[in-house]
Symmetry: C2
Subunit: 441 residues, 2 copies
């Protein structure tokens, strides 16, 4: 398992390293099998995991050049992967949020030309470098909450140059790090104002103009569609996703979010890598998903922020044998949080996943949803060294102690990105060291 060379870095003195080693993806009863090593350390060589094993054995592989990071008993996890985000956009929608607090409905706002359209107007104003600049603090905040890899969608341009600028911004953000972004083209997010009386014309624009350029510039891995009343129906969505496939893009679908849209069935039919949202998924769609290799991505932070009560039926999906992931859906309208941890809590406390299932949903299964399960999502020799250090010692404490940021350190491609000092919240054996060093959360 170990290379001849001593590791560059050893992260050690962890009460529990959750590895997620084993099946990729997890489904059914396996979704809750997180795989973990107690009293362990992680050895890293370059940007790769060299070994995960018992503290002493791993430390024995160090030489005098090996850097050591003592995590003081804390639990280590694979870096979180946020498999559904819209982080590149202009403007904000605080006023729309206030209107919703006063009773306005999200779909009505959308139909009246607000909502996504408002973000489209603000996004079209921005250059690639401004888009990058606006997105950077968002990604930084999300990374400080544990996310090391993001899926990132276009869909706030809705004309050829603006969609390309969004995808170019995503590429530039990926290349300038310290995070990693997986790009999705979503020209079919909604109909732009100028095409509101010409649905066929906009779909033609997406299919004939946008997709060829996205392929030519190699700007995306996936093609996503918002299959929903008020956006694109099943036939329109199919046309776009099939065209995307011809241009080398794997389908994803925003499905069954606000109504039973048929999006899940379409997703399975076209071989989508994921169908996302799902509060209104029907029984037949659950069965179809269970028999497919398509991931169900739950986005409970959206349900919470839209102040709805109907969450996606996570428990039922896992029990049926569906591959389940969880993501933040960060966007300026329907899910404006920068914390994947909140989505994780809601997946457990409102969608019925166990803590272990939810952790698989933001690591190995999220990696699978992005087609990177061979490189990301678990801590195994040879995989990329993306890992996070928590302030707890057991997985359950991440949710039991809900509402705060439990991530105290982030390592991406073998490099420590940030480190925050916190005394262990649930420590058993250590003496107090006062409290002044505890601040900074």
């Amino acid at each position: 398992m170990m290379s001849d060379k001593a590791p560059d870095l050893i992260v050690h003195n962890s009460s529990l390293v959750v590895t997620m080693a084993g099946s990729a993806p997890r489904r059914g009863a396996e979704q809750g099998e997180i795989a973990a090593v107690a009293d362990a350390a992680v050895a890293i060589t370059g940007d790769r995991i060299a070994e995960v094993g018992p503290e002493k054995r791993v430390l024995d592989s160090a030489d005098r050049h090996t850097r050591l990071i003592d995590v003081d008993g804390r639990m280590i996890l694979p870096g979180y992967i946020d498999a559904h985000t819209h982080p590149v956009y202009g403007g904000d929608r605080t006023d729309e949020f206030i209107a919703r607090l006063r009773g306005a409905d999200y779909e009505d706002i959308h139909a009246a030309g607000g909502g996504i359209q408002a973000t489209v107007r603000a996004t079209r104003e921005l250059s690639v470098s401004r888009l990058v600049e606006e997105a950077r603090p968002r990604l930084a905040r999300m990374m400080s909450n544990g996310v090391t890899t993001f899926e990132a969608k276009s869909g706030y341009g809705l004309d050829v140059p603006s969609e390309l600028r969004q995808l170019q911004a995503i590429r530039e953000l990926d290349q300038s790090g310290p995070w990693e972004l997986v790009p999705t083209f979503m020209g079919a997010h909604t109909l732009p104002d100028e095409f509101k009386d010409d649905r066929a014309g906009y779909i033609e624009l997406v299919v004939e103009k946008m997709l060829p350029q996205v392929e030519a510039l190699d700007l995306a891995d996936f093609c996503d569609v918002f299959c929903e009343r008020g956006a694109f129906d099943v036939d329109e969505s199919r046309e776009i996703l099939e065209a995307g496939k011809r241009h080398g893009l794997t389908p994803r679908v925003h499905a069954d979010e606000l109504s039973p849209s048929g999006g899940t069935k379409l997703g399975v039919e076209v071989g989508a890598r994921s169908v996302d949202h799902l509060p209104f998924i029907d029984d037949e769609s659950v069965e179809l998903l269970a028999d497919s290799d398509t991931t169900a991505i739950l986005l409970p932070a959206t349900t919470f922020f839209l102040m709805k009560d109907r969450y996606a039926p996570g428990r039922r999906l896992v029990d049926a044998g569906v591959i389940v992931a969880v993501a933040s859906d960060h966007n300026p309208g329907s899910s404006h949080t920068l914390s994947l941890e909140r989505a994780l809590e809601l997946a457990v406390m409102r969608c019925g996943l166990s803590v272990e299932e939810a952790l698989a949903a933001v690591t190995i299964n999220a990696a699978y949803a992005l087609e990177h399960q061979g490189r990301l999502g678990s801590l195994e020799p040879g995989k990329q060294a993306d890992l996070i250090i928590t302030d707890v010692t057991r997985p359950e404490q991440l949710i039991y102690g809900w509402g705060v940021n439990h991530i105290t350190g982030v390592i991406k491609r073998g490099k420590m990105i940030n480190r925050r000092r916190h005394r262990l919240q649930h420590r058993q054996h250590k003496e107090s060291r006062g409290f002044s060093h505890l601040f900074g959360d």
Copy 2:
């Protein structure tokens, strides 16, 4: 407004200083009037506010000894006051939480001798100094999330020495700061195991043994009772609260949380300073409260964590003219979060308060609920200099950007307790300064 002496500290360059100046408490339409000064600064002399006013005028009062803190455009608020917490206890109840996730009911766990009783067993094991040591990181984390003053209850001892130890720990925590604690005696949290067949015997212990010692040692300002099926009924609660009054303690009541317990009516009858929880409050109780000087303290983080759907009717209470506060209810069983910000979000997104009403609910009205509205809860000349620096520029953004810690600096009694560097999330005019300094949340 200004003293002759130049201020010791000026916190300046704030786009908006929310002062909460004016009525204390706020009720009805006034609850949403937060009072604020744009492009402002706060001058502090010793532990007191000297002035809040326009940037230039306040800066003109500086001399060469005045320390300046530039908040880079961010909004400043009065320090949050968490008017209902149980932060001093032993053990944790992760396993009970897991059982609840699997379908166990909180009241059933309580009836079976788990729940509060489990914490009582663990708390009785601990000395005052161990209780202090266990509580400190909790308070530090809560303070880093904006809380500068805590109400803190006993109620996990339930025998004379253990209740006194809890209150002594609260006193020691208050004196060793940097926060401030307001102590509440809650011997009537539940019946301890050894009295489960002798309700009258336990009430006699509370009334005849505990209360006289609490008074003699001057260990509490308030006396609280859990008035609920499975705990104490209305007559028992009245007996204890009236006895508390004879010993100088103002009543508070855990009321109408899990059933219509009659606790609110009792609270108004005995002149309680607050009635807390309230998901099951009835119409008559709302009217009684509106005609009283008793505060309604909403604890929506508890409803969330108990995975219930019925939140306290905050909108209705404000509209009826009730004085409304919001608190975290931090405790190891029913509300194990260390973030008052999560309670604030739920007060807005689930209880129907406006953002401004919710901010009054954790500042001036929370100060009133603790009988400290003359000294705490607003930024006005002469009041204690407890203030927090956010990472946003408008109150709405605290909730629109839900799920993270928006507090970047805490000043308690005129002293900077901690400072976290974050670029403004919603800035309009500044150039990027890269992102490496953004981490640390």
